[in-house]
Amino acid sequence: MNIKEIREIIALMNENEVTEFTIEREGFKLCIRKAGGAGAVAAPAPAAVSAAVPAPAPAAAEAAEGQYIVSPMVGTYYAAPAPDAPPYVKVGQEVDEETVVCLIEAMKVLNEIKAERKGRIVEVLAENGEPVEFGKKLFRIA
């Protein structure tokens, strides 16, 4: 896909008031999003191509927020259910709504955190055993 084709897609999106467009092929993913005027979101696939869509308004924070799994509580972050167990998820792993991604322990209450969306873990943003605050970003997901 070349820049001319991407321009055409954007033009079509603007004409038809389409706010999001994703195309995926072997080793290639293009995602163009105009969430409330947000810029394009870079896709993490190896040969990702990003294209900026002219935005009439400042980038919306929600669009970026939606890409993170955050802690619902103050507590301690655990990547695995037991010290010698493998972590719940690894970078590159596909997850869905029901996938448990980690544990947050607060006062011995174990809270299984689910991905709550489909996607792929791109980055782990917390250290095993790290104290986390409410709203702390734990994973980046795409």
Partner: protein, 326 residues
């Protein structure tokens, strides 16, 4: 023989338990609106469960001895609780009552459902630790709750559960159980009851919580070899009746949960402080990744976290990990 409806058996147990002497089969049949043959069949089913029921041709039936089993009919007989124990499911064996409760909760089981097992083949504590669960010696139960509160407040659930377990032990075994922060119930510094609370959250609300309670009731020293644990039997020198203790535990949990739902966090903390042995003591807190802090426990903060004063005078709050009194 056709399958017996456990609920009907429970009802018959209720009839017999509540009676001072013989109850006629006719009377039971009339009250339960079943045939006399059905009564007879169900009494026989009870006998197979280990109930000793005397039958007399003219007088009817009399319950001589109930089995040492945490059967719903026995536990719920005379149970005074609003939510906890509304429905009790009994299993001879489960891998873990928390796992079964979790499965039921996901399938939509109502709040207050209790899962109880006579033994667990894979009883567990936190972080993959095992909970020793020999048959008919302990109480292994889990309660499904659906508290309408943000996940950040659920620390109080564990404080409530600990107070409830300590109170139930005090009531039934007459032993002064104390609580080590946040929820280990102990006698003479040894663990007698463990609590494992697991949450399933969705965004900023709790879908359900499973509160698992394991009590070492009639465990012998051999059952607990190598563990820093004890049992009510070891401490009191005699067997403790499990049914009464299970019932008291559900009642205390229910009371604590009512306080929690009403937002009476101050009451919960006050009750916890009354039964706790942690405050004022020198402690070592160790996170599960090995980070250590030592100091004197000074109290709880408004989130239920433990406050400790370090050597240098600074105060730190402990949100998890293991705490030892040293």
């Amino acid at each position: 023989m056709t399958a017996v409806d456990p609920d009907r058996e429970d009802v018959i147990v209720g009839e017999l338990l509540g009676a001072p002497a013989y109850v006629s089969g006719e009377e039971i049949a009339r009250r339960l609106r079943i045939s006399r043959t059905a009564v007879w069949n169900r009494v026989n089913a009870l006998r197979r469960l280990g109930f000793q029921v005397e039958s007399h041709p003219h007088l009817g039936y009399r319950l001589v001895r109930a089995p040492d089993a945490l059967l719903p009919a026995l536990v719920s007989h005379g149970l005074v609780a609003e939510i906890v124990g509304r429905r009790i499911l009994h299993f001879e064996e489960l891998r873990s009552t928390n796992d079964e409760a979790e499965r039921l909760a996901r399938a939509g089981a109502p709040e207050g459902t209790v899962v109880v097992a006579e033994r667990q083949s894979a009883g567990r504590g936190r972080m993959g630790r095992a909970w020793v669960s020999p048959p008919r010696k302990g109480i292994y139960l889990s309660v499904i709750l659906r508290p309408a509160m943000p996940p950040s407040r659920t620390a109080f659930l564990t404080l409530c559960a600990a107070v409830a377990a300590a109170d139930a032990v005090r009531r039934c075994a007459g032993l002064r159980a104390s609580v080590k922060w946040p929820n280990d119930v102990r006698l003479g510094g040894r663990k007698v009851c463990g609590i494992l609370t697991e949450l399933a959250t969705e965004a900023d609300r709790i879908n359900h919580a499973v509160v698992g309670v394991g009590v070492n009731v009639n465990h012998d020293p051999a059952d607990l070899r190598g563990l820093e644990a004890t049992s009510l039997k070891i401490e009191s020198g005699g067997e403790v009746e499990r049914v009464g203790l299970a019932r008291a535990l559900l009642e205390e949990l229910d009371g604590g949960y009512a306080a929690l739902c009403a937002g009476r966090y101050g009451d919960i903390v006050r009750r916890w402080l009354e039964v706790s042995d942690t405050i004022g003591r020198r402690i070592r807190a160790e996170s599960l990744t090995g980070e250590r802090l030592e100091g004197v426990a000074t109290g709880l903060d408004e989130d239920g976290c433990l406050l400790i004063r370090l050597e240098g005078g600074a105060t730190k709050r402990i949100t998890g990990g293991d705490v030892r009194i040293i």
